[in-house]
Every structure is written in structure tokens, then in C-alpha cells.
Chain length 256, copies 2
């Protein structure tokens, strides 16, 4: 892992040597980048993290990824072309490292497709209303909170039907990790909805149990940030400052 400082315009590309490790270009608070951290950490694949300041992108970063986006994954020996799009990168890692101890998709193609459908649906069902609640410029759009709850209902019901602690069974799988970053951030809704906002313990009983278990997962712990830390960044973001390095050290204490 890197020092945690986000590299900005005017920086020089990190010198990492030819150690054959993957390089993940990331941003500490980006939930899409976190998806890739989770997969690499779950499969215990060693990698370097290079944090990118997304407001002031380093000039050299566009040579790594012409779109300037994170996450982007650099694979040794692949001539400076990075892979991006979080779900594609996650699937790539799963396919390129089949010998690693953890398989994250079900072995059966039909079940795998069902998980991938839920990952796709999470976008519209949960992520989309979440961002509309959090970042709409003129107040919370009508219906967005109801929509967010109805979206989570689908996953509550799914977990009940599967009758396993995780969507992946006895251990978290691809579906668990792909939806986790936004679940880690659910309590951020308090930032806009007030302290009394809370997920209903009856309605979301299974999901809340799942969340408690996920927080104890070794891979989740590696990229986990508390609601307090997420709030700190959110405040800086809303103030137009994007203080990417506001919790770098806090994170180190958390992991230890």
C-alpha cells in the first residue's frame, strides 16, 4: 500500500520497481475504487495502491488512463494500458487469478448470472437514489428516500430467501463486495437527513446482521472507513475543497 497521500498535478509518477505486483490507481473515498480493493484483499493478491487527487489530476496519470478515471488497474507486462470500470476490473481479477484461494462467484453459470443481475440492479435500486439524496443541489428530490428503502427491500428479501449469512453463502462473494461500499456509507444519510435517520431494525433485519458481519471481514477491514471519516471527507467535498488526505493517518490506526 502507498503512504495514502493523493498525488496531484505537478507530482511525479511513483517509482515502484519491477516487482511484478498489480498497481491500483484509487481514491480513498471512492466507492467504485473500493470495490477493486475489496476483491484484491479478499483474494489476498499483493498490489500497490496509488492514490490520485481527482480534482487536480497528475499530468502523468493520463498516460496511465486517458480518461483520468479511478479505479484503474495496471497489470505488469501490459504496456501501460490500464483496465477500468469497477465491475469489469473485479471480474478480470476473478478470472485472471483462478488459483487464488477465494472464488468469489458461484461455480454454476446460472447462479453467477443471477448474482451479476443483482449487482447491476443495485445501481438503479440503491446507488442512484442514494446519490440523489446526498447530492441534489436543491433539496432532497421527492420520493428518493422511499425509493432508497424499496431498493434495499430487494436485497433484504434476497438475503432472507438465500437464508445464508452472506449473499455468497458462508463467506462474502462478489455480490457482497460489489454492493458493500455504499452499505458502509449508509449512515452518511444522517448528514442530510438528520440524526434521527436510521435503517428500520425490523424491515432491514437481515441486512443489518449482514452489515455487522461484513464489518468484521478481513478484506472489508482493510479499506473500511468509519462514518465519521466518510463525513469528514463529505464535508470537505460539500465545501468545494475535496480534502482527499483528511483521514490517511486515521486509516492506519484503524487497520492496526
Amino acid at each position: 500500500m502507498s503512504s495514502g497521500k493523493h498525488l496531484a498535478k505537478g507530482s511525479t509518477p511513483p517509482v515502484l520497481g519491477n516487482d511484478g505486483k498489480l498497481r491500483l490507481y484509487s481514491m480513498r473515498f471512492c466507492p467504485y475504487a473500493q470495490r477493486v480493493h475489496l476483491i484484491l484483499d479478499a483474494k489476498k493478491i499483493p498490489y500497490h495502491t496509488i492514490y490520485i487527487n481527482l480534482s487536480e489530476k497528475p499530468e502523468w496519470y493520463f498516460e496511465k488512463n486517458p480518461l483520468g478515471k479511478v479505479p484503474a488497474l495496471e497489470v505488469p507486462g501490459k504496456s501501460n494500458v490500464t483496465l477500468y470500470e469497477s465491475l469489469v476490473v473485479a471480474d478480470y481479477i476473478e478470472e485472471a487469478y483462478p488459483d487464488k484461494q477465494r472464488k468469489l462467484y458461484p461455480a454454476d453459470a446460472f447462479q453467477k448470472a443471477q448474482d451479476r443481475i443483482l449487482i447491476e440492479r443495485f445501481n438503479g435500486l440503491v446507488i442512484s437514489p442514494y446519490y440523489r439524496i446526498m447530492f441534489s443541489s436543491d433539496g432532497i428530490p421527492p420520493g428518493a428516500i422511499t425509493e432508497f428503502g424499496t431498493g434495499l427491500d430487494v436485497f433484504e428479501k434476497e438475503l432472507k430467501t438465500r437464508a445464508t449469512p452472506y449473499f455468497g453463502g458462508d463467506k462474502p462473494g462478489m455480490l457482497d463486495y460489489m454492493i458493500w461500499p455504499w452499505c458502509e456509507r449508509v449512515d452518511l444519510l444522517k448528514f442530510v437527513l438528520g440524526d434521527k435517520y436510521e435503517l428500520d431494525k425490523e424491515r432491514f433485519g437481515k441486512l443489518l446482521q449482514w452489515r455487522d458481519l461484513m464489518e468484521k471481514d478481513e478484506a472489508v477491514k482493510k479499506s473500511f472507513l468509519s462514518t465519521e471519516s466518510h463525513t469528514k471527507f463529505l464535508q470537505s467535498r460539500k465545501a468545494g475543497e475535496n480534502n482527499y488526505d483528511c483521514v490517511s493517518n486515521a486509516k492506519k490506526f484503524r487497520i492496526a
Copy 2:
């Protein structure tokens, strides 16, 4: 294949017997459904097509797919749960039928990921401006035509770099088939932009050659509709009529 008539509210579910074939719920003019036809036809997998009237959906269809969407794929022995989301279904077919003569993804995981990135990017780069040009209620949004061309530039450049007739090499692959439905419909832009609209032969030289080749592909021919047929449906759609069956017979002649 079915008779081509789109089943509507009040219809009874088709009786197909237990012949072990896949069943594809589709709509004749839906480009997302066409993606799945293309993959099944390219891999020469036998299947039934059941066309659904999307304006007046059959009551029974919601038992097949609670979301009422097409495409949806019913796999024999999988207790009435359908798979949906065109890209997930296409990937499922590729994985579930590995023994079929045609492999549609590159064998190398990195190259496969690169193709999947381009499939994802096609959404924002081409499909999104295409729909904004075709269906914006108050005229063509400024910049949409430029954006559409810039999006196609990415694929023109890619084909030039690959220096192969198809994105998949000597034969069409997953990327070719996943972007094809909108390429088949490019000349529909004349419907809103006027007859003088045409893809620049210099700027899109490779893509136009590719389009000519694709039209001759056996799998493409099976679901292909002429611009005239697409226009017919588009006119009925713009008139609020959605005449799904307007070319069922025309199609039969075309295949024969």
C-alpha cells in the same frame, strides 16, 4: 422461432413442450433483445422466441420476469426464473455453452476485459447520444450529434488499431455483436436529421467496411431488419401506436 406475433394482455402463455430448448422473451425492434438473439444465433444454439408486446404486457409474463422487461432468458429446469440484463445474459450464454463452436470473447482475460470496457463505454459514447437525438421531446439537444460522432470515432480508431476486419479478429466476437444493434439502426438518424445525414466515408471508413461485413454475417442476418422496417416501427412509436407486428412477415422473407 415463434410466428413473430407479439403476445399482449389477455393472451395465454405459449405451449412449447419440454423440448429442453432455451426460451428467449424478446421484442422484434428492441436492440437489447437483439443482442441476445445475435449471441444465440452466432453460437448456433437452438431456442424459442416469444415476442412480448411491451405496451400491453401479458399478465402471465410477470410470472416469468417480475420486472416485465425484455430480453429475458428462460433456461429449462430452472424453475421459471428468467435471466435478464442483455450483457449478463450474453455472458451467461458464452459461459454456459463453452463447447459450442464459437468462442465470442478472447481467451486471454486481459483482452477480454478490454473488450468488456469498450462494450460498457459504447453505452455512454454512442447509445446515449443516439437516443437523445432520436427521442428528445423538444428538438435535438445541442452537442448530441457531435457527441455521437466523437463516440463512433473511438470505435473507428479501435478497429484501425486492431487492423482486423472485425473487433473480434477474423470473425465477429462479443464486442461486435454487443454494439451491432445500434449500428444497424444508424441510418434511422435520417428520420430526425433529414436525408442528407450520412456517416462520413473518410472519417468512419473502417466502421463502414465493418458494417458491410457484419450485414453478411449469418447470425446478423437472422435478426436483421432494414432501415425501412425500423423506420416503420419508429413511425408507429412516435405516433404512440407501437405497432410491434408491423414487419413480422417482411422478416420471414428476409431470412428466406
